[in-house]
Symmetry: C2
Subunit: 160 residues, 2 copies
DNA sequence: GTTAGTGCAAACCTTTTGCAGCTCT
DNA sequence: AGAGCTGCAAAAGGTTTGCACTAAC
């Protein structure tokens, strides 16, 4: 369970492990999903109705600064909020369907290779990296084609 | 000049080429930089003091939807605003120094390879892709080491 | 002349800040 | 005990919307 490692890591930095933080850490770690602050807040509220939205933001900021979670944008497919996930051992890209919002994770050593190329090419020290890809999943490609067709039929009708 | 191509592309979609849009298109294209909406607005105001911030946002949205410009986050190194650049023929990653804000662009066929792998692996149709890398440039690595040293000396003093 | 586009004001959404009081260690 | 953390209220930052007027085609 990755969360216990995170808890240890925090303790060693002299960060207090409060009731609220325990709840949030468990939620981020358990849900395999990519949660945004609001969703995390809603879930946390089920366990502690007194918890404040601000505490969620502060905790996320703390975890991000400590490199314990990664912040994602997921192509802003659903607004400008940020999403979070516990930092995995292996880097991966996020593949977002712009129609249904489904998110796939792409692993592969190309990401690691690129990291190395960038570090050596620029003499750069990478701290965080993010690859996000937006488009249409196999399912939505079909649906979208139908939608486009319906749309142009509509347009033909109104222009007649 | 890429902007004339964009203008043609817009005209063919029945989009009106207004004075304001001409100004904004020219600014985005000319400035080799990555502008955010506010900066673009400030620059546009020098050419047309009457132009409104809202028009800037609407134009950017239009161009983005048309695939004529790409929206970037640049790791939110300076806030949560978005940055824009005219879509280049060749895909590239953005490498952002978290200390000085300098932005490098990384070209290389790894990005193209990854695109292909993702499309074939998931049967996904990619519309847009974005790779952003945050860390420290060679210059700032040195400066940062000094800063960290100064900070821990400070901490030792206050705990004494 | 139409319809799309603009400016203005106001709203919106997400996130941050100031501060008094509470709590972990 | 005391620094660190929380909740509350309020503000900030970035972006969008409604509407009457204007301009491109």
């Amino acid at each position: 369970m990755a969360v216990s490692g995170i808890k240890d890591s925090l303790k060693q930095q002299g960060v207090r492990l409060t009731r609220q933080r325990k709840i949030l850490l468990d939620l981020i770690d358990q849900s395999g999903q990519h949660l945004d602050a609001e969703r995390l807040f809603q879930l946390a509220r089920e366990r502690d109705p007194k918890i404040n939205r601000v505490t969620v933001y502060r905790t996320l900021k703390l975890l991000k600064a400590g490199g314990l979670v990664d912040e994602l944008d997921l192509m802003h497919h659903d607004g400008d909020q940020h999403y979070y996930e516990t930092r995995l051992k292996q880097e991966h890209a996020h593949v977002i369907c712009l129609r249904c919002g489904k998110i796939e994770e792409f692993f592969g050593d190309l990401l690691q290779q690129m990291r190395e190329q960038i570090e050596s090419h620029f003499g750069f020290k990478i701290v965080l990296a993010r690859t996000e890809v937006g488009g249409y999943c196999s399912h939505c490609q079909v649906l979208r084609a139908k939608e486009m067709e319906a749309l142009s039929a509509e347009s033909r009708r109104s222009h007649a």
